[in-house]
Amino acid sequence: MTQEEALKWFADLFGLPASSITPETTRDKILTWDSLGVLTLMASLDETFNIVTDDASMRAMQSVGDVLNLLRKHGKLT
């Protein structure tokens, strides 16, 4: 998956226009990235990428770039 595709996946997940987010967008700027959003993100990471995460790594993610780095670390981002 390319970075552009990953950004679209993330934006769709949180109900945002893809143009509104960049890797630098922080969690506090995304209202839907709350505790329910965390579960949605965890489910999609598992379903789409087969990545199972834990509470500590979810807490550590504070920006879209952190999510992209997770995908990169698991070899899901080219």
Binding site: S35, T40, M42, A43, D46, E47, V52, D54, D55, M58
Partner: protein
């Protein structure tokens, strides 16, 4: 490894029970912003749930269900050899809730009665115990009562749990099967105590009898860890069970999952590649009632029951502990299924 197959016993009746008071999360919630409520209801799936008044405890819900079971089976109270009460919301710290139910049902002083302190995994564990007791010889009839009142220990200011929980009880009547010709029952039980903090009521027990913060008398849940546990453990439990019990997924009529959260359950269904038609849901009407959600779903989940053969069910409980387990059982056409509301 706690995997076992045991000679089947007969499930003679299952009755679930809920308090009469039905609360509509969408129209009656005033503590949270309606948009937030709408979002939580969509995700967790709980539209309505039944809430026990302060005067109704787990024993009351289960005794009502057990009375219905005894009545419909025409079982005399003195014919019950053992009573297992599964709960994590007991009436008292002591005595055991089983003793209260024993009194209310008028059971004999020759009846064994004890509690099992498990939550969402409690039903498979209790069936395992009852099946061993019946197959061990001597005992003929066992009642398994499983009841919880989680609305009483949920923090009403925490939207993650305030809109989720409902109260329920159940009674399951099991009898020794003299011919033992049925499919052996299978049990697959697991524990991971390292997750003990992920679902916890920290206060009120003897480690912290009177907590300074009253919120410690309510359940605290680490949603992300519980979700992680569920998606990691439940699909492998199901896969392992089907393999161990030589039962391909196609041979199972219904997978009766603990009704934890609609979003999580739907995710599990996809992950386990089980058709949704084989997973009944009751969480929309009753909320997450803990372990009793399994017998509640058996009676209220709209199971289609052929008249000429038993249903093959895989019961799957998972949650607080962390503890999880499955039971493969058969539900014959003659098994009585019933449901009562407790005013």
């Amino acid at each position: 490894m706690a995997i076992s197959t045991l000679p089947a016993c007969s499930v003679r009746a299952i009755c679930s029970s809920v308090p009469t008071r039905c609360f509509d999360n969408l129209t009656e919630t005033t503590a949270f912003d309606p948009k937030e409520v709408d979002k939580v209801v969509k995700m967790a799936g709980v539209r309505t749930r039944h809430i026990a008044p302060e005067t109704t405890c787990s024993s009351d819900l289960c005794v009502a269900a057990a009375k219905r079971v005894l009545d419909r089976l025409q079982w005399k109270p003195e014919s019950v050899d053992a009573l297992i009460f599964v709960t994590q919301s007991p009436d008292y710290l002591l005595p055991s809730t089983s003793c209260l139910a024993h009194r209310d049902l008028g059971l004999s002083d020759r009846c064994a009665a004890f509690d099992v302190g498990l939550g969402c995994s409690g039903y498979p564990y209790a069936l395992w115990l009852a099946t061993m007791m019946l197959s061990g010889g001597g005992l003929q009839r066992v009642l398994v009562l499983h009841g919880e009142t989680p609305t009483r220990f949920s923090d009403r200011s925490d939207r993650a749990v305030a809109l989720l929980f409902g109260d329920a009880g159940s009674a399951t009547a099991l009898e020794a099967s003299p011919d033992r010709t049925g499919l052996p029952w299978g049990f697959n039980l697991h524990t991971d105590g390292s997750g003990w903090r992920d679902l916890i009521i920290e206060g009120g027990g003897f480690r912290n009898r009177t907590p300074a913060d009253p919120r410690q008398l309510c359940v605290a849940m680490n949603g992300a860890n519980v979700f992680n546990f569920t998606i990691k453990r439940v699909p492998s439990l199901v896969e392992e069970s089907l393999l161990a019990f030589h039962s391909p997924a196609e041979s199972i009529d219904y997978f009766i999952l603990h009704q934890s959260n609609l979003f999580i359950m739907k995710h599990l269904a996809k992950k386990m590649q089980v058709p949704e038609t084989k997973i009944p849901y009751t969480i929309q009407r009753y909320g997450s009632t803990g372990g009793p959600s399994i017998p509640l779903t058996i009676t209220q989940g709209g199971l289609v029951r052929p008249a000429d053969r038993a249903l093959k069910l895989l019961l799957v409980g998972y949650g607080v502990g962390l503890s999880w387990g499955s039971a493969l059982i058969e539900l014959p056409p003659e098994t009585i299924l019933d449901h009562v509301e407790v005013g």
